[in-house]
Structures are given as C-alpha cells and as structure tokens.
Amino acid sequence: MSHAEPSTPIDPNYDLLARMLADAGDDPVLTLAIVVSKMLEHGRTTPEALARLGISEDELFAVLEALEESDTPEEFNAALDLQAALQHYNAILVEIANERGVPAVGGTYVKLRSAIAAFAERNDVLDLRIAYRLMLAECPDQLPGTTPPSKD
C-alpha cells in the first residue's frame, strides 16, 4: 500500500487543521517543514505548486537540506537561521557587486564577496553595508571592481 494513501478514511467532521496546529507545539515551523517535506516525498505536491505560494525552489531546497542535516529541532532552527543569514547577505552582496560593475558570477565576484565578509567577520560588523562603507574608507584597494562616485 502506498504511504500516500491514508489507512483509514478521514472523518469529514474531524478538524485535521486544529489537530495539526495543536500538535505543532513550540515549533510550528518545524512541523510545517516536515509536512511540506512529506507532501513532496509522497507526491502530494510539487516544487512548482509551492512556487505558486511564493516559495522558490532555492528556499524549498534550503529547508529540505536543513531537515536532512538536523537531528534535533534546535539544529534545524540553527540551520534555518544560517540559511536565512546567507540569503540576506547574498542579496546585499549582489547589490554591492552591481554597484561596482562586477558581474555576480565568477572569480572576481567571489573575491569581492569574501573580502567584504572577511572584513565584517574580523571587525565583528554584522551589517555588510556598514562593513562595505568602512572598507571604502579604510582599505578600498581590497575591493575588486570600480568604486562608484559618492552621492554626497
């Protein structure tokens, strides 16, 4: 028997959503991720269908990867946080690369990303925009690409 088939018919009067929300406990995100993962596994939905909800394939893959690599809810949440931080920083770094005329692919882009991130890490600056501005002031020679003219 396929796992996709419920073993007993669902009672139409049974509030499945209420039961699921109650079971979600302190970690509804984990519950939701497991539900999505199982729906995909059993062919009850597709990445394309989830994209219609605004969940991109990259985001979906990140959640599934976090699930696969985690043994505990704490690890899962830490992995999700890391993915979110990476997405956040990646978006900013693409913006900075565009400003400096560096295509967001290839070796020069990787060098630019790493230089800004290493500067931020070394100086304990968690905002990459601030780290970038500090680098422009202190060590612009470490930044590949062309520094755009100041708007001031």
Partner: protein, 405 residues
Amino acid sequence: MHTRSRLVARTRRPGTISSMTPEARKHALAMIAREYVLTRREELDTLGTPLVLRPATPEEANLSRLHQIAADVFRLLPDDVVESVPPLAESATPPSIGGVGDDSGLLLWVVDLRAPDGAPWVGFLCGTLYTEHEAGMTPEARSTTINNLNLNDAAAAWVSMEVAGERLMVRLCSAAHPVDEGLESWSELAAYMVAVAVAAGEEEGSAGPASTYLELLHISQRGDDDGYSETSLCFAASAFRDSFSEDLARTVLLDDHLDGVEVLVPFFAAGEVRALLTAFEAVSDEDSPTGVGGVKIFGRLYDNLPVPEAHRWARAFNGDDDVPDDDNDTWTQTTAWLFGSWQALEVSPGMASVFYKGFVPNPLRRHVSDVELVRGCVREVWVSANRYRLRKEFDSTVGGVDVPR
C-alpha cells in the same frame, strides 16, 4: 486583506528576515569569507602537505654516513648516557643502522631516506620498549591501553610496533632532516631525543645519567631567559599569518588566549584547522614532561567520532603499525621537533574527540624559529585532518570500507 498582503511582502524581502541570530550571521559571514580561499588553495596545500620520504635502495644507501651521523649525535651526550644506548648494527632492509637494548628496553634506529626529488635525508627514531603491557591483550584492550598511555604522556607518542619479531608497545620520538642542509642543529635535537628516551627508561627518582644530564641542561638554560613566551608566540603567529599572500592572510585568524595564541586556518568545508599554542614556565607545572618550560600545543580533529573509531584514528595519526595506511613503507615527516601524540577523549556517551597534545621544550628554541614553530604545529593538525577528510570522502564515494584502512 490589503494590510496582510503588505506584511507578507515585507517578511519575504531579503534583509528584513528577523529570525537571524547573531551566531547565524557570524557563521554565514565566516562561510562567505572562506569561499575565495577555497577556490585557490595552492598555498594552503603547501602548508598541509606532509613530506613523504622513502627508504633508500640498497644501491643508494650510504651506511658509513649513517655511522658518522650517529657518532656525531652521541658525541653531544655524556659518556654514561651513551653507554645506555644499544650497540648499532647495520641492516640492509631498509638501509639503516640500529639496535634494541637487551636490558635498557631502548630502541634506536638511524635510517637512510630519500626525498621525492632524490635528495638524501636521515631519519632518526628512538623509543622506549614496554613488554609487560602486551601479554594476552585483545586488540581492543591494546587500543584502549595505548590511548590511555598517550593521554597521560605529553612528550611522546605511544604506538604498537613489531620489534625483533615481537609486538610491543613503544614510547616513540622520531625526526628526519635533509643531509645536504647540514646536520649540526639537528644532531643536537637528536641527542636531546636520545637523552629523553633513555631518561624515560630510568627508574623514577633514581637520578640516572640521562635524567641528571637533562636536569643540568634545563638548569643551564633556565637562566638564559630565551624561552617561549606569550609575546613571542603572538609575534610568531602574526608573522606566520603574514607569510601568506594578502588574500589568504585575511582569512587566517589569530585569537589571543591566556599565555598564548590560537591560530585558525581555513580548511575545506569543515571550517578551519585550529592550533592552540600556550607558553608555560617550568618545573612546577605538572604537565611539563621533562620538568622544563616550553610551549604546549593543542589541535583537534573537526569531527567527534564513536570511541573505537576515534581510537583507531588517533593511533593511525601516531603511525601505529597496527593501523596500516597507504604509506606504510614510507617515512612521513610532518614536524620533526614536536613531541606529542594524537589521543581520543570521550566527550559524550560513546563519542570521543580526537585531539593532538604536543610539547616543544624551551631548549629546542635554538633549533626552531618561532614562526616555524607555529607553522609546524598547524601543519601537524592540518595533515592529520586532511588525511581523515580524504579517507572520509573516499568512503562516502565507495562505501563500506573500514576507516582507517
């Protein structure tokens, strides 16, 4: 509905994700910072590549040179220490001279080696034999015993070796050096190793000749004020970092610690290789294996492992005969002057951390520059971590192979 849509849109914009913890942000920054280094690894590979030496062929071998080298080493030691050393006989395979003491339980071997480019090297190996531990021991019990011995000994590596047809536990030190670069400084190091090995076999508190010699040596150098210090280690770590290209140097992190410095070097996806170097002053320190000050080194494998596997990896890193590897017939040189060993320590039920605990005594500061000290310590940890990584990757590809082989 309109308000709700705006809220959803806001939470989906990159840069306004509110759930990121500072730890996650720092981790993400570290990952991005390493990306560039990982795309061009030649320099780091140079740092982490061990020198694999092969024994000379019988045609290449120069046994008279080995006798001369051994004589030069012994000349640096008092006569009563040399008398404890077993007589050295020539051996054709591999080309070497060596011997095992009948009463002293001392093993000494000088081996004719060749570098990959054919340059002549000399290998020097001395160990103290312990026969009483072996009787009727299962392999698992032997593995645990060897690990426990390593945990309690900061100055040498305990390994299982076949000596004269018998499997014995040996407390081992070894060093190799290129013959063409001059052996004067290395001979002093080798003499020091011999004295330490002889002293290890002397009855504790008996004030035997080697123990007395070492004590006098340490006293004579204690007044020189040229031992390692927190300041010298920090300077050396900075110089080590600056020896890399600018791009790479930015990713080598230094972290000040009490009496020392921790060096973090990027290492593949696993993060970084860490070596913690702390200076300490001497006699009162119960961790000092020779009663003299120096530098303690701690390094760690990046994964924790099930205890039996951790034991096997620690023994493999120590060059234990019982855990053969692909280079079983070669002499792998990482850091000649580093005393110490890899060990497994249980950190949670059933799981152990594999770590390196080493020691460089102050008297060796005359032979090893401070920067080379830092580089050598990082190399020791790097080489072993890389060996583990390669094996793990091979196993994940092929599957079902014992680790280590």
